[in-house]
Each structure stands twice: as structure tokens, then as C-alpha cells.
């Protein structure tokens, strides 16, 4: 067996940080899309840069919460109490910030639809990660069988 190449602390931090930034980008674009559609329906064809800055910072901070407080629930293998709590708290936080920042002009109905939209986004992301892992399972098992066959041949 060859010497293992261990990840350094910096590499491990970077891996986690990239994961959080990826999440922030993903949810930022999902929220931006919703806000753009909302504004278009209301006859406005522009979005405030300040709102966009608020969105990306919110997504980034909530991304940290998702990873460090709620067990990275959108990538979780199984959904438990902690994960459901995470989905609820993060959705409420997004809605709270949207009201404070006036992203949706503080309209109650729009905020409720926004909450449903965030929940739907989380469900979609959870399902996407799940199907990604299923595909990965197949690939891993194929490679395992190949490895075992080749090793038995060489013995």
C-alpha cells in the first residue's frame, strides 16, 4: 500500500469554504430570479444593486449556518429533526431579511409565495444531491468490480 497523501488544514478549510460559496451563489441566483420575476410582474424592469448585495451576503451567512449549525441539510443523506429545523429556520431568515430589505416591497402575499419558493428550492436541491449520489453509487460499484476483477487476474 502506498503512502497516503493527507489533506492539510488549509486544504480542508478551502474545501468547506468553496462549498459554502457554491451554496451562496446557487441560492443567490434562485432568489434573484424570484425577485426579478416579482418586479417584472409589477411593471419594473430593474433591481437595486443594494438589494443584490443584501441577497448575496444573506445567502453567504445562511450558507455558514446551514453547514455549521444545521448539518448541511441540503446535502444530507437522511432528513431528521435537525435538518427540518434547518429548512424552517433558513426559510424564515430569508423571508425576514426580504421584509427588512424590502426586496418584495414588504407585500405579505409575495413574502408567503417567496417562503414557498425557498422551500421548493431546498426540496429540489436535496433531490438533486440525492440523485447525484445515486449515480455516484453506480459508478463507484462499477469501478469496485473492475478493480476486484483486475486484482484477481494479477494474483
Amino acid at each position: 500500500m502506498r503512502e497516503e497523501k493527507k489533506l492539510t488544514l488549509w486544504e480542508r478549510y478551502l474545501t468547506k469554504e468553496i462549498g459554502i460559496e457554491f451554496k451562496a451563489c446557487l441560492y443567490f441566483f434562485a432568489i434573484l430570479f424570484f425577485v426579478c420575476v416579482f418586479r417584472m410582474i409589477n411593471g419594473t424592469f430593474s433591481v437595486s444593486i443594494a438589494h443584490m448585495a443584501e441577497m448575496i451576503f444573506t445567502c453567504y451567512i445562511i450558507g455558514y449556518m446551514q453547514v455549521f449549525l444545521f448539518g448541511n441539510f441540503d446535502e444530507a443523506d437522511t432528513l431528521g429533526l435537525r435538518e427540518y429545523a434547518g429548512v424552517t429556520v433558513c426559510t424564515l431568515l430569508y423571508c425576514g431579511v426580504s421584509v427588512l430589505g424590502g426586496w418584495l416591497d414588504r407585500k405579505v402575499l409575495a413574502t408567503l409565495i417567496f417562503a414557498a419558493y425557498i422551500l421548493l428550492t431546498y426540496v429540489c436541491v436535496i433531490l438533486i444531491y440525492r440523485s447525484k449520489r445515486r449515480i455516484d453509487d453506480k459508478k463507484l460499484n462499477e469501478e469496485l468490480k473492475l478493480f476486484q476483477t483486475e486484482h484477481k487476474k494479477s494474483e
Partner: protein
Amino acid sequence: MKIDIQKIAGGEESIVIRYIEPNPVVERVVELLSNKERKLWGKTSEGNECISLDDVLFLESVDDRVFAYTKEKVLQIDGSLNSFTADICDECFFRCSKSMVININKVVSLKSLSSNRIDATMDGGEHIMISRRYASEFRRLLKGDR
């Protein structure tokens, strides 16, 4: 046991083993030299035993002691996981976490988990976690990229 090593200027290299009664140490040396089936020696509650390396499912380090697990037996072996992997020099034995080494040939199926971890189901039904730290190396090994 006395060990007598002599350097010779020429001729064929040879090893002479002198014993009074056959014993595990002598058998182990003979097997090692004759390059027979790879075996692993260890202690069980019934005394010293030897198993084929191919039967080992995984090795686990618990409180500075290393145990080798087969379907039927658990043996306590000398040394550490590091010394085992260094001595064996076999890609089939993979260090999958700080305290475990698995025999890849005894893995029945793999399951991808979140955070890039892998769950390996062994021949005996045990589930062993390949930690995130070792999972990338494991994937490379399976692909033959290592």
C-alpha cells in the same frame, strides 16, 4: 533465539534454520522465505493462530492494539496499522480512516454519502465508513490513477 548473520564474498546466498521443535516463529520465517500463500499471524483466546491475508475483511486499531477481522475470527496482531500497511505492500489493503484498514477485495458494495464520504459494505455485512480524508484517494485507487 540466536540470530547469526554472515557476509560472504561470493557463491550462492543461503539461509539455514535450526530448531529443536517446530514452532510458530519458525513456521512464519519458513513461509516468508518460501513465498507461499500470504499469511497473518495473531493471537486469539485459544492461542496463536494464522490466517490467510485474503480472508481478512478489515483491520481495526483499538487502544493501541490492532485486530484483524475475518468472517469467523478476530485476531490481535503485533504492530500498528502503519507497520501492517508498510509490510503488506498491497493495494487491496486500504487505510480508510485513522483506525481502520479494509481489504477492498472483501467489499461487497459501496454507497456514496454526503460530504464525500463512502460507506463500504463488507463480505460479513459490516458497514465501514471511508472518511472524507481518505475517500478521494480511494476513488483514485479504484480508477487506477494512484
